[in-house]
Every structure is written in C-alpha cells, then in structure tokens.
Amino acid sequence: MITAINFFQALIIILGAPLVRGIIAQFKARLQRRQGASIWRPYADLAKLFRKEDIVPPTASWVFRFAPIVLFGATVSVAAFVPVVQPSALLASRGDFFLLVYLLALGRFFLSLGALDGGSAFGGMGASREALVSSLAEAPFLLGLAAVAILAAHADIAGIVVWTLRQNVFNISGVHILAFISLAMVTVAETGRMPVDNPTTHLELTMIHEGMVLEYSGPSLALIEWASAVKLHAMLALLIALFDPWGMASSLSGLGIGAALLLYCAKAALFVIVLAVIESGMAKLRMYLVPDFLGVASALSALAVIFTVLAKR
C-alpha cells in the first residue's frame, strides 16, 4: 500500500510537471493582459515532439543522442525522492539529499555534454554558462539542505519531512527562513527561470538552457523539455515538503490522502503564482550579476548552517 502511494507521488510530480509549466505560462500571460495558451498546451507540445523526427547534426556522436535519456532518467529519479502527500518517498531509504543534488548535477552534466557535442557555437556558449551557474548553485543547494538535515538529524528527505511535521507550525526557526530563501533562489537558478535565465527568449546570444537545446529536435527535445519541467516541479515539491509540509496525510486513509493532495495543489499553485509575479516584475539580470545572485544564496545558506550548529534552531 505504502509503495503504491509512493509510486503515485512520483507520478504526480512527473506527469503533473507540464501542467505546472502551463499554469505559469498562463498566469504570466494574464499579467500581460494576454489570453495566453491553454494550461494543457505543454502536453500537446510534448505529444507533438514525440511524434516528430529526431534530427541529429552530422558532426554529433552517440553522446548527443544519449544525453537526453540520461537527463530524463536522472531527473525522474529525483522525483522519486520527494514526498508529496505523505512523508515518505519511493526511494527515501535508498539515498540522502546528496544523492538528490548530484542526480540533478548528473543530468545537467550530460545535457552540457550533448550541447557541446551538437557542435554549434550556441550549444557551447549555453553549456559554459550552465556550468558557471550550476557550479555556483551547488554550494547553496547543499548547504541549505544540510542546515535542515542537521536540525532534523536525518539525511534523507523523507526523514527531514517526518521531523518537520512533528514541529509546531508557529515555531518556525530562523534557520528555516534562511534555508528557504536560499533554496528558493537556487530553484530559480537551477530551473533556468527569470531573472537568471529567460525561458521564453528567442535571442540565441542571451540563452543558457535554451542555447543548450537549440540543436535538439523531436523525441530528444521532448525528453529534455519534459525533464526540465519535472525538475521545476520536483524543486517546488521539495520546497513545499521541507518548509511547509503540514497537511500531509499521517495515516494511509483515502480521505487523508485526498485532502493532502488538495492541500498540495493549493500550495503549489501559490508558489507558481509567486514565481510568475516575480518573473513578470523584473528584467533579467546581467550575466555578470548571476554570480552575485547565487553568492547571496550561498551566504544565506552558510548562515543557516552556522545557526543550526550554534543554536540548534
């Protein structure tokens, strides 16, 4: 039973991911007073891409074809670490938060390799920028997670969530606030959202993620797009699980699970709206300011760890 629910949780993240993107796009369109595309549009896009021909540049090797598969596999595995409706996850006992961070890094590494293998200048430029952003995002990502892990005395995500659930909602510690802000900033950088990267740009010279995928087409592109949607959704679910898990089902009753699912949807919707408002309200950062942005995240997460160790709160 618990395995079935855990499986169901992973599916929510993986299958619901395009919907999250669709809702963000729709909400941003509304903020611009446009009608916007349907929230189901990303599913139609994926279906279209899966039916299309996969065009591989003549200079590319097997790495180019292989990279999207590794990226998708790694990202989907991450989804299986994150609790959604109840404080356990499919792979919770198989690995800790380090594994989660480096599974994402593995996917990104292969995507960068694939982009370099594609042979276009923009792929290389995107890959080098992605390497810069992700190497700077790694420290705050790990430190932010470490701060809450030390508090909970658990290294796996589900364990941290179980501990958090036992705490009083109103007894939020400074550590949580600092770690939340730094992980939210990491989420923006990791998932290539504004103001670090503009996912809707058509200017090849300003692209990070989009530059890397310029040479991809058909099913390979579909896997990459789906994987990046899953990454965004998994990061959102991770933020909710770590910092606002209250309402998760404590028993395995159908009613409890249903209520927890509804509550999760409401929280996710709130996150999505906040993300859309932030994205709409400012211009993209200069490329040189991205290190500063992630530097702030690093400082916050370092503070979180120091507070945890000193004050145990």
């Binding site: 504004m194 200017l203 950062l285």
Partner: protein
C-alpha cells in the same frame, strides 16, 4: 585587394568641405551615377551646417581617391560605389565586396551592366581575423532563432567579452536603386515604400519630396500637414515599439506587452482614419493621394493623445525599474567621437551628443512653422537611446495634436510636369534618422534614384558600441540601435 589604377595621376579627388566649427562637414551620402554618355560620376553630399546640403560632383571614369581615411563615414559608401559602378577607388583601406556576396561574380556592376543573367559565382570572402590566446569566433546568423531580419554577425570574443564585431549584411539586397530605373515618377513611390517596411511613409514622403524638388513645385498646405501627421505618427509608433522591444530583450515581459498594445491601438486608429495601418499608398509626388476626413483626423488625434499619455506612464515605470536601469545603463556606449566620425544620424546620434535633426536643420514643409525641441544627451548608452525615444515620442504626439487642430483647408494634390530633364533631392527625418533621396529623371522616367537610409549610415557604428561589452548584451545593444536590415540592404 588593393588595386592599382592604371593612371594614378588622372584619379580625381575632392577636399571634404569644412563645417563652421572647423571640423570636416558631416558626410550625408556618397553615390555614383551615369552621365549623358554613360560616363561615371560620383556625388558627395555634405552637411556643413547650412539649411542646404552641399553637393560635389566628380567625374570618376578614371577612378577616384578614397576619402575614407579622412572621413570614415565614407568607407561603406565607397565600397558600395565600387560594387555598383566598378569605380576604381585608390587608397581605400578595405575594398571587399559589400552589397554582394560570394555568389556574385567579380566584375559585374549592376548599375552599369545588365543584370538579367548573371552567372553564379563562388568568390572568396575573408572576415577579419583576431588572433591571440583564448580568442574564439562566434558566428551568428543570417538565420536567427527568432523571427527577425537576416544579418550575419561575426564576433571575436575572449571569454564573454567582445573584442571585435564584424557585420556582414545585404542578405535582403533587392537592387532597389536599379529597380527605380525606367519607372515613372509615380511608380517610384511604390518601390520607395517597400524599402523599409516600418518606415514606409518616411520613404514615400522623402521620395515624393525629391520629385517635387526636381519639378520645382510646392505642394498644397493641407497635403504637407497630412504628411506631417503621418511622419510624426510613424515616429511615435516606431519609438513605442522600440522601447517595448528593449523590454522584451531583457525579459521584462509585462511592460513589453503593454507597449505592444499601445502600438497596436495606434495602428488600428490609423487604419480607421485612412484605411492603412502604416500609411502605405498615402503620399505621392504632388501631395497625398486622397484627402483625409477632418473628423476622422480629430478622432485619430484623440487616440494619439491617449496613447501618448499611456506610453509616458509606461515609460516612467520602465525607466525607474531598478533591474531595467541595471541592464540599460552603461551598456553599449557609443562614444561621441566615434559617432561623429561615422556621421551617425537619428536618435542614436542624439543619444551620443550629436545635436542634429533634419526637421530643424534642413526644414521641409511644414516643419518650418512648427516649434519643437530636439532632445540630446551625451551618455550614449542603451538608457540614453531609450530616453531619447521616450522624449521624442511625447514631442511627436504634441506635434500631431497641433497639426490636426490647425489643419488648413484646400486641395491635397498638385499636378506635376515631369517632362524634360529633372534632378532633385530631399531629406526627411525618419524615425531612424536622416533619410535622403536623390533622383534624376528624363521625360517622366527615372534614370537614377539614390536612397541614403539611416540604417546604412548607422550600422557601421554599432560594432563600436558592442566592443568591450559581454556577448550576452549584444541583442540589447542591437535593439537599442534598432536598425533596419531591409533599409540598409535596399
């Protein structure tokens, strides 16, 4: 590529005239033409600070001396002249083909030779190579990821910093100047309008004025007032669109869509007023083709006032947003001396401290009766170019109000006598800057029509604004110049 002329001594040379401040006068344009006996001539047009342009004509059958080293703005014009007429140009630092690409054979010069069956060729074209450790070349275009015009940009970068940018344009070269040949003066309007889509009215007016100048006639005051409304509306639409485009390029999407909406409201208002969104087919030699209903013009003027008010609020919001200021300020600085050397025109020039505006300096009817300020600033960065456009948009809106309120009555079309030998020129301040037409006609048929487009003039300056910036800022800097590829390539 250096060519040695057979007879060095017979090469003609001009001394560029001086402006009042003692510097070399601003080069307006440089072009070739054929005389009666199909002998090649070169025309130099300078702006020495007087209301009238100064034109120097030089026989070029035996080649000319380049003035590019003294007047850098002449470099592209001389290359174009070399391509179009095959005029030998001694002392030019770079005579690679400009308007023709590798597929165009050497020795075929379209303004002299027939172009009906030109064989496909495979010439060599060498980009400037920047050598050194860690220098990479990035080739962008002519096919871009977005739906924009084609142009090739060759960057030499070290890391993310641009050391050198070389342009390779003319992918949309349509041979417009050749197409004019043999058309009647009225047909020429259609070609002029097609040269640069979003500035079509400025082109139509400049062309029409050149014909009227050649025929020595004045157009009815009502016609010139209607032209003024169209020209200023075009500027307003263009500037709103440019500021919105700058927001799009930095991902400030809400402001970008608001700008698009304001622009669209103006285009629709135009459509209701004169059945054309971009005022196509309105201006003709002699005036305007149809009279516009005064009631409809009043309605248009109300919508312009509303759009200008909305845009001024939006611009205030955009220019005070910290993330926008961070992106716009100090990005893509075009220094004043560079702008002066390359004789840059339009909002780009005014943002780099060059105080020039055809409407004020070389007035054409009815601008001699209109009072307006010419905003100038010296920062030369993306922010300066944005601010100039915001200010000019407000001024244009006010000029439209005044023109509609004081619209004279009467006819709108004067008749033209195009028989005999005609020669005329005219300049218009288009949204991108000085647009200059020079034409020659014989018995109602055009024999030569030269178009100096502001984009052709400003493109060579853009690489200087980009050098030293990071490559990711190039699209923003490019957008702040907002040059037309089609207008440049002609």
């Amino acid at each position: 590529m250096a060519r040695v002329s057979k007879n060095q001594s017979s090469e003609a040379a001009i001394a560029p005239p001086m402006a009042k401040d003692g510097a070399i006068a601003r080069l307006v344009t440089l072009f070739g033409s054929l005389g009666r006996n199909r002998d090649k001539r070169v025309h130099y047009v300078f702006d020495a600070g007087d209301p009238n342009y100064k034109e120097i004509i030089l026989p070029a059958e035996a080649g000319i001396h380049s003035i590019a080293l003294r007047v850098p703005a002449a470099a592209w014009y001389e290359r174009e002249l070399h391509d179009q007429y095959g005029v030998e140009i001694a002392g030019h630092p770079d005579l690679r083909p400009l308007i023709f690409h590798e597929n165009w054979p050497d020795g075929v010069h379209p303004m002299v030779d027939a172009v009906e069956s030109v064989p496909w060729s495979n010439r060599e074209y060498r980009f400037l190579e920047v050598q050194g450790i860690g220098i990479a070349e990035v080739a962008v275009g002519p096919v871009h990821a977005g739906i924009i015009e084609p142009g090739h940009f060759r960057f030499s970068v070290v890391g993310d910093t641009v050391l050198n940018l070389e342009l390779r344009h003319f992918y949309t070269h349509k041979g417009a100047e050749k197409l004019f040949e043999g058309r009647s003066c009225n047909q020429g309007t259609l070609i002029a309008e097609s040269i640069s889509g979003d500035n079509c009215f400025a082109h139509a007016v400049a062309y029409s004025q050149a014909v009227e100048n050649a025929c020595r006639i004045d157009i009815p005051p009502r016609a010139s007032a209607i032209r003024l409304i169209g020209l200023e509306l075009e500027r307003l639409v263009s500037h709103i669109s440019d500021v919105g485009g700058l927001c799009t390029d930095v991902g400030f999407s809400v402001a970008a869509s608001y700008a698009t909406r304001i622009k669209e409201s103006l285009l629709q208002a135009s459509s209701r007023c004169c059945n054309t969104r971009y005022w196509r087919g309105i201006a003709v030699p002699g005036g305007v083709r149809v009279d516009l209903d005064t009631g409809k013009l009043l309605e248009l003027s109300r919508e312009v006032a509303e759009a200008a008010r909305e845009f001024s609020d939006l611009a205030k919001l955009i220019l005070t947003t910290p993330s926008i200021q961070n992106r716009f300020e100090t990005a893509g600085i075009l220094r004043q001396d560079v702008a002066r050397d390359l004789a840059v025109v339009g909002p780009v020039a005014r943002a780099s401290g060059m105080d020039l505006d055809v409407r004020r300096d070389h007035p054409y009817a009815p601008y001699d009766q209109v009072q307006f300020d010419v905003p100038v600033t010296h920062y030369g960065d993306v922010m300066a170019r944005a601010r100039i456009r915001v200010e000019e948009a407000a001024i244009s809106a006010r000029i439209i109000q005044e023109a509609v309120n004081g619209l004279p009555a009467g006819s709108v079309l004067a008749s033209l006598d195009t028989l005999g030998e005609l020669q005329g020129s005219s300049a218009v301040e288009s949204p991108r800057g000085e647009l200059y037409y020079w034409l020659e006609a014989r018995d109602g048929r055009l024999t030569r029509c030269h178009v100096k487009s502001p984009s052709f003039q400003n493109w060579p300056a853009m690489p200087f604004a980009v050098a030293g910036n990071i490559i990711a800022d190039f699209p923003l800097i490019n957008k702040s110049f907002n040059l037309s590829y089609s207008g440049c390539d002609r």
